[in-house]
């Protein structure tokens, strides 16, 4: 009987982390060992807080550390992952951060199982084939329309057939500035490249402010408008969805359980649901979302702005869905996110990527390089060490 023997967290960071909206500036790697086999996962985001949620003292029966539900558990098959997930949900009910912490552990458990069984995760999820996905380059708007234009040109030259621009000045200045950025993006990309826009929740729940941008988004033929509002502002999402036949809404990265994703679809009327397995409770929840969208007129897209370990994890839940073909692909991540792994999900000759056929996530950690980004962490409570970072990869 295979039991979880150890769960180790590695907090990695660029030497300097800035306020730009680039999620690849740090990472929380999780390593799980059971029966001599090792699996890797990655939590999104805020490494220190997610570590604390794993090791913290118990507050009461429904507010236990995530570690209490994981350590020593039997892990023989996917049903064990579901069982542990349910225990985390109940025993860490009042520990808000638990979902993010558990997500990385869950991914590592799938990786571990895949290696034990000699199967890719998507096969364990019931898929027969891992279909090609059409990656879009995910990047930030420039500070000026000229910079946005330059970035669009660069992306097109890099053989991307779809590009998403996000955050930056959008929604923070006047309408015309935003329109100038949208137009610059389209101009730089040329006619045939698909363009997505990410507003980074800048409109709060102000439907009118977001709606003002819709005509310009139609003009530049945007595929979607992402996260105009707070993830939970469902009424604002559905109100905006009614305002354009052409521009669909995208959201989901801010959700941290299956219900919240279903609500975005059912009540928020989003057209693209974006799943970050490092936040929503892992690959198992991702697969349940994939099953959910299949019965509805909604597209599944991964959300990934970090490493290729996280990218592989987020591709697994919809690897076998041929029609759900769009994939977020970190275009210009920080060195940390790239160097973390020895192999990468390279684009093929058609510019496409797919979840690997190799065992588990199919991604190998570059422990030597990862070590160079390691952040020293020490958490002590009542004089006892609850967590001390280790460089023993």
């Amino acid at each position: 009987m295979r039991k979880i023997e150890s769960v180790d967290f590695f907090y990695l960071s660029m030497p300097e982390v800035t306020t730009e909206g680039d999620g690849s500036q740090d990472a929380l790697l999780v390593r799980v060992s059971a029966g001599g086999v090792v699996g890797w996962g990655e939590c999104e985001a805020s490494p220190l807080v997610s570590i604390a949620a794993f090791v913290c003292p118990i507050s009461h029966g429904a507010c236990r550390p995530v570690g209490a539900s994981v350590r020593g558990q039997v892990i023989e098959g996917p049903e064990d992952i579901s069982r542990i997930a349910l225990q985390v949900q109940l025993d860490s009910m009042d520990l808000l951060q638990a979902a993010h912490t558990w997500s990385g552990v869950e991914i590592a458990l799938w990786d571990l199982l895949g290696k034990c069984r000699g199967e890719p995760i998507w096969k364990m999820l019931g898929y027969r084939e891992s279909f090609a996905k059409f990656p879009y380059a995910s990047q930030l708007f420039g500070d000026t329309p000229e910079q946005t234009y330059e970035r669009a040109v660069t992306a097109r030259k890099s053989r991307f057939h779809a590009v998403k621009f996000g955050w930056g000045p959008i929604g923070r200045g006047d309408l015309n500035t935003d329109i100038a950025h949208f137009s610059a993006a389209r101009e730089g990309l040329g006619k045939d490249c698909r363009l997505m826009i990410d507003a980074g929740q800048v409109f709060g729940e102000n439907v009118e402010a977001a709606a003002e941008r819709l005509p310009a988004l139609e003009t530049v033929d945007a595929v979607w408008l992402e996260e105009p509002f707070h993830t939970s502002a469902l009424a604002a999402y559905s109100a905006l969805a009614l305002r354009s036949e052409k521009i669909k809404l995208a959201a989901g990265e801010g959700a941290h359980n299956l219900h919240m994703l279903a609500h975005l679809i059912d009540y928020g009327k989003v057209g693209f649901i974006q799943i970050d397995c490092g936040r929503i409770g892992g690959i198992g929840v991702g697969k349940r979302v994939a099953d959910y969208v299949l019965a509805r007129d909604v597209s599944f897209v991964n959300h990934t702005f970090t490493s290729h370990l996280a990218l592989s994890a987020s591709l697994q839940p919809y690897a076998g869905l041929r029609e759900h073909e769009i994939c977020e692909y970190p275009f210009a991540p920080k060195a940390l996110a790239w160097d973390l792994t020895t192999n990468h999900l390279e684009r093929d000759r058609d510019g496409c990527v797919r979840a690997p056929d190799s065992h588990g996530l199919g991604i190998t950690i570059d422990t030597e390089k990862a070590r160079s980004f390691l952040v020293d962490v020490d958490i002590r409570v009542k004089g006892q060490s609850l967590f001390a970072s280790s460089n023993q990869f």
Copy 2:
């Protein structure tokens, strides 16, 4: 111009914390100082994780520590609290625990403002009067129906006209055991005492399992069935709400923003919305929920299972609503939760409580006693101390 000069966290705990569902076993006190005035608040729950969310290193622009949005801010009036709340929402968007951390800070800011202005918080919220609330004794089911009966008798003898039983064995064994507990509670309370039942999310999203209990709940004349499901299982809530004319559903403590509470009302069809200001984003969000329920056939109830500081905070948002008269009242909290404050919201001759008329929260911390529960915490990142507990109350 008054600026926030310091924000200090005090992690308090009983010497031993067990797995029982008693949230009064630890506490996270927050003290905010500005212009020589001090305000106090309390975060629910998991002190270590909420501290980490205040002091953690930045991950990127939308994942900053809560502290970055609070320290050094101007605090002159309620509008400043709203402004900081919005900044936390945007700048800590990807930091899941942020809502819990911010909640305690927000409460402390209201307390501070009330002391500066010489007003109770409910008056600053726009209420003219603080109406009497009808407290229900909140306690756990016994392990056996006999124990539940004894607890009911004790509660009745303590002059409570309403009692809530929760958690314990409910939903974990067979139907008849649950019915025996419900009956024992009613028998011990007598005919005239109101009875509420809290299922502690034990049914997950299993509507049928919860619905099986409805006839017994009708027989014992329960006022509500609380949290049969996961806070986000809105479809399950609304499905169950349709199954009984008499038994209303209650929920809300698991929510951590205004939207989630509105969803419980609009989509989940709950009849009682339960607000813990230490989790949902503070007193300001509580007031917005109160405004929301006023336009709907829903009752506002506080959720409080900890200290009288937290109790006062959770009474403020609906202090001025005469018809919303039910109030959760910690019946048998651990010594920590009682000793923490020098004064308490004692029940008057009618057995009622009300939000105090004194300034701010109207509750004084017993620093000497609090010190005896203090937990030593030390968080170091990159060799730098991010948090070191202080006994300087």
